[in-house]
């Protein structure tokens, strides 16, 4: 493991000796050698932890006798008790609803903007496209924690330019870090950080549209707007599906931004999002079994959503293919 690139090489000298049949054997075995580091890492850092989480989720700690000393607690089988507790936990449900509300802002706005900017980048009549592309992609290089930190300061009433602007026209400034605006404030951080990446994915798909298609549209007298709506958008639908898919997954896992904003406001609890609750249960509450059950539930929801969505997307693809 300390030298993952070495594994296949170790077998090489033995291979070179033989004739044709030895070469065929080595060609047959080689891919497994090349995949050995991947397999080892997967087993150790994906499969094992997942298995361990499943195991922990059906165990609990029981107090023995007075519960004193090292023998005072033992781990026993808990069945589905941890899951029952997780699914009926009102804080977890509230967290899920908060994330749903947050996602309802982030996903449509971010992808809408990403598509809009990608279409602008693909339009020759727009100047400064190179500059726009680099600049809008720039936030991708800024860690989520630092993005949250920068915006967090910009939301503080004593720093925010919005406060200055509103006060100048005599309006009361809203507290961006409380109540409903807080959702917008958090969503804005994710939108700022994620639009550029999605824009690039969509823009790449736009550039893959054959030139003849554009030519045909132009000859048919399509305006740029019509070309965008009727040709470009339908043709990049697969990459929109892809970006949608990844945005949903990222949204379900929101953790960094609300965690970073916490020092700046009292309105963010330590269990604001479900993942924050997992962290809280595991490391502050010390209840790793509850944390494991909650984690498994979140993983299942993610998987069900992902595969349900993929099925839907591929079913649509197939219908279209059949229609052709």
């Amino acid at each position: 493991m300390s030298a993952p690139g070495r594994a296949p090489g170790a077998e090489a000298p033995a291979r070179r000796r033989g004739g044709a049949s030895a070469r065929a054997t080595s060609a047959r075995l080689a891919p497994y050698g090349f995949l050995a580091p991947t397999a080892a890492l997967f087993a150790l850092f994906f499969a094992l932890p997942i298995g361990y989480a499943l195991y922990l989720s059906v165990r609990k700690v029981q107090i023995v006798g007075l519960g004193l000393g090292p023998d005072g607690r033992e781990e026993v089988w808990a069945g589905l008790a941890n899951y029952r507790r997780a699914l009926t936990d009102s804080e977890l449900l509230a967290g899920a609803l908060r994330v749903l509300g947050y996602g309802a802002i982030v996903v449509p706005v971010m992808l809408g903007l990403a598509l809009f900017f990608a279409l602008l980048l693909d339009d020759e009549r727009v100047r400064g496209r190179r500059f726009g592309r680099l600049t809008i992609f720039l936030p991708y290089a800024v860690p989520g924690v630092i993005a949250a930190l920068l915006w967090g300061f910009l939301y503080l009433p004593s720093v925010s330019p919005l406060t200055d602007a509103l006060e100048a026209v005599g309006l009361p400034a809203p507290d961006l870090l409380d109540g409903a605006p807080l959702f917008g404030a958090l969503a804005n951080i994710a939108i700022w950080g994620g639009t550029g990446f999605n824009m690039i994915v969509i823009y790449t798909a736009l550039r893959a549209i054959p030139a003849e298609v554009h030519e045909a549209a132009r000859l048919d007298g399509c305006t740029p707007l019509q070309t965008a709506l009727r040709i470009k958008i339908p043709m990049v639908l697969p990459s929109l599906v892809l970006t949608f898919f990844f945005s949903i997954i990222a949204t379900l896992q929101v953790f960094n931004e609300p965690t970073t904003l916490r020092p700046l406001t009292n309105s963010l609890s330590t269990t604001w999002s479900p993942l924050m609750k997992v962290y809280e249960d595991a490391f502050t509450g010390g209840d790793i079994h509850a944390a494991a059950a909650t984690a498994v539930v979140i993983a299942l929801v993610t998987l069900v959503l992902s595969f349900g969505f993929l099925r839907l997307a591929t079913a649509r693809d197939r219908r279209e293919e059949n229609a052709r």
Binding site: M1, P4, G5, P8, A12, S26, R28, A30, P31, F34, L35, L41, F42, F46, P49, I50, A53, F116, F117, L120, D123, E124, V126, R127, F131, G132, L134, T135, F137, L138, A141, V142, P143, V145, A147, F153, L154, P161, D164, T195, A205, R207, I209, P210, A211, H214, E215, M235, P238, V241, I249, Q253, N256, L275, A282, A291, A292, A295, A299, T302
Partner: protein, 305 residues
Amino acid sequence: MSTASPLNTVDAASPANARPASEGGGARRPRRFAPLPTAALLLGALYCLLPVAWVAIAATKAGDELFSTFTFAPGSGLWENVSDLHGYRDGIYWRWMVNSALYAGLGALLSCAVSALGGYALALYRFPGRETIFNVLLAGVLMPPVILAVPQYLLLAEVDLTDSRLAVLLPVLLSPYGIYLARIYAAAAVPADVVEAARMDGSGEWRIFRSIALPMMLPGLVTVFLFQFVAIWNNFLLPYIMLSDDEKFPLTLGLFTLLNQGSTTPALYTLVITGALLAVLPLIALFLLVQRFWSLDLLSGAVKS
């Protein structure tokens, strides 16, 4: 690409039907200037620059100027802020930066090597279990990191590896997305008949990979490297869970703890802001430097033919 992967929707943007960037211009329709869309694009660019511009300005403000002067009015304390940051706990900030560079640099390099090997095997060999392996790897993308991180922490605690540099390095070495990209590059850049010819000439499999396939895959691997570098540099959750000794913190975690302490000691806020600026600058510089060599298109799996 005839994979049954959930991600092969990207293939719409794959090489065969891509028109070269250079001719994407005037041939299509007469060049005119569209002021409104241009303004919209610039507005978007402005929005993306806003926090970066702010932090650059705010880092020049002295402690008492931060909350009193206009948001975008430069202050007078840049040098003082930097030297305060430098002096803070014997320059621990620089240690964080070195840690971040180490985790991201070494992690991305090793991860890139693992991805190259895996992607090459998946692209150029036909063997039993190929699609299964690929699909299981892709399912790994869907696993929320915290689901993995909590048991990873507990397991590493069993072998006394928590709060060590290895604890933040080892779990990031396997990147399903990196393998996915490497597979696409290998399939597009390494012709199967070249590999076959080398095999006929008696080259060993490892030699074929090292001296023939690897150089061909290199441009794509640069993207895998940069992608992983950014992902590890930006990582917060894993070090947050694994590390407690702040000598080993990466920048993200260090700044977070600094911000956390700032809620009781507001004097630290200027340090946080200056630190944030200095943390953002290297990556922005890196981006501007490599964007010449790094086709952003590759990020989404498109390959130029």
